[in-house]
Amino acid sequence: MRFFAEHARQLVAALGRLAQHPGSTLLTIGVIGIALSLPAGLRVVVNNGRVLAGSWEHAQDFTVYLNMEVSMNAAGILAQEIRGLDDVADVTFIGRDDALEDFKRYSGFGDVMRALDSNPLPHALVVRPRTDLEPKAIAELAKVLERREETDLVQLDTAWVDRFRAMLDISRRAVDLASALLALAVIVVIGNTIRLEINNRRREIEVTKLVGGSNAFIRRPFLYLGLWYGFGGGLILINIGLQALSGPVAQLTGLYTSTFRLTGLPWLESIALLGGGGLLGWLGAGLATSRHLAAIEPQ
């Protein structure tokens, strides 16, 4: 019980010590906050990218454009036939007249289209493969449909999604790497701050050693100091850093007029970030104290 009371006292005392020099404390914590905010911010972006990619399951769809000679009736029969295939979940038939209407409305080339004598668009079938189908099987299916004589062109829509996913994977790796490097930077920054603090309190350390203070006892206030630095950095990051980031991200996602909504740093991750910051601070202080405290011996 006394052990915990002593630790609690030291924890509060370390906070009090930081409060004595608010200027330099804020500066240090700010640096740590910035160092933490880079990987955290990137993580938010990547996480959201993954959510976005996950919502594109239907991107497996592909479009079968039919020959101009294929009649409306024949196209309808073909659609029925394809719908009956094992690997196909659904087929949507888009008649050339509907396609023309849509094109006029959405493309902005309405006037150009009106100037044409005839409708240049073919009938099209949007084929949705079964969701459990492997990309390879989808490609196979597309090939089978392409070989049919009614088919003019089969257009797979998945290529760019795959590319996007691959890019996301690379970004995630990069974020992991950046996180590791910046965590190291935080340890170094805090370690250096603690080293200066040790120098400032040299006399106190000497005297404490002289009256029988153990290394653990002497280390403790510095470890708590490091803990607060890291924790404070995390707090600054969550309060300021992510808020600054959330604006541009919201704007970015606003450009996607889908149902996609930005997820911030979730609650649990915020706590993990605070805890992680504290842990890094503790580590930095631990390194600094183990390196520099032993060197201070009473003369």
């Binding site: 006394r2 009371a5 002593e6 000497e206 005297v207 404490t208 050693k209 153990s214 290394n215 006892f217």
Partner: protein
């Protein structure tokens, strides 16, 4: 309580501070350590506090061979020795109370017991009621008494002092020495290094004389 057997101390660089020194101090004794500057008084005290280690010979304190006290065990070892310095070595960024309480906090003493003992120690040195004062607001003599209160707060059986009156005028010096005598009366062993021979002679305790690192007189012949 303290036993030196053929102790030599050579500092890096070759300076020999102590040579072939053998002394014996019993529990409950009050001993002055005298000699000119450079005689080895401070080195002798440092060997006891394990600030330095003997190059040769054995230093036995409280029945413990100091050579066997490992680095990790030094803090626990030092808690049994009260040390008083010429320059007090107080912490000036905290009040008198915290200074005196430091050894008790280190020992993990509870808050109530700590308060009781700090007040008792300050009472003994005549500074009760000054707990909240900053050390700089005290006179040199008073600061030295805070240093002494800190040395005795944890009630160590042995107190060593290095020139505790070195910065004080004669009247204050007598005060401080009388304070030490009072601790000695309740059983604390005292070893005080000083070159204030006049004061030493007046008080008439056992005197260990050193010169150039050698024992000149271990005081057992003249002691009462």
């Amino acid at each position: 309580m303290i036993s030196f057997q053929n102790v030599a101390k050579r500092y890096p660089g070759g300076y020999e501070a102590l040579r072939e020194l053998s002394i014996n101090i019993d529990a409950g004794e009050f001993v002055f350590l005298t000699g000119p500057s450079g005689a080895g008084k401070s080195t002798l005290l440092k060997l006891i506090a394990l600030i330095e280690r003997a190059t040769r010979g054995s230093v036995i304190v409280n029945g413990l061979n100091t050579a066997r006290v490992t680095r990790r065990k030094i803090p626990a070892y030092r808690r049994n020795i009260g040390v008083v310095f010429q320059d007090h070595k107080l912490l000036y960024d905290r009040p008198v109370f915290d200074n005196v309480a430091l050894p008790l906090v280190i020992a993990g003493m509870g808050r109530r017991e700590t308060q009781r003992r700090v007040r008792a120690a300050l009472d003994q040195v005549g500074l009760l009621g000054r707990e909240g004062h900053a050390p700089v607001t005290l006179s040199t003599g008073e600061q030295q008494r805070v240093g002494i209160a800190r040395a005795v707060a944890a009630r160590p059986p042995l107190v060593i002092a290095d020139e505790p009156t070195g910065n004080l005028d004669p009247a204050l010096s007598v005060d401080i020495m009388q304070l030490f005598e009072r601790f000695n009366e309740v059983g604390v062993t005292l070893l005080i290094a000083t070159h204030d021979l006049e004061l030493v002679n007046r008080l008439g305790h056992r005197q260990i004389k050193l010169a150039a690192g050698r024992l000149i007189d271990d005081g057992t012949m003249v002691s009462a």
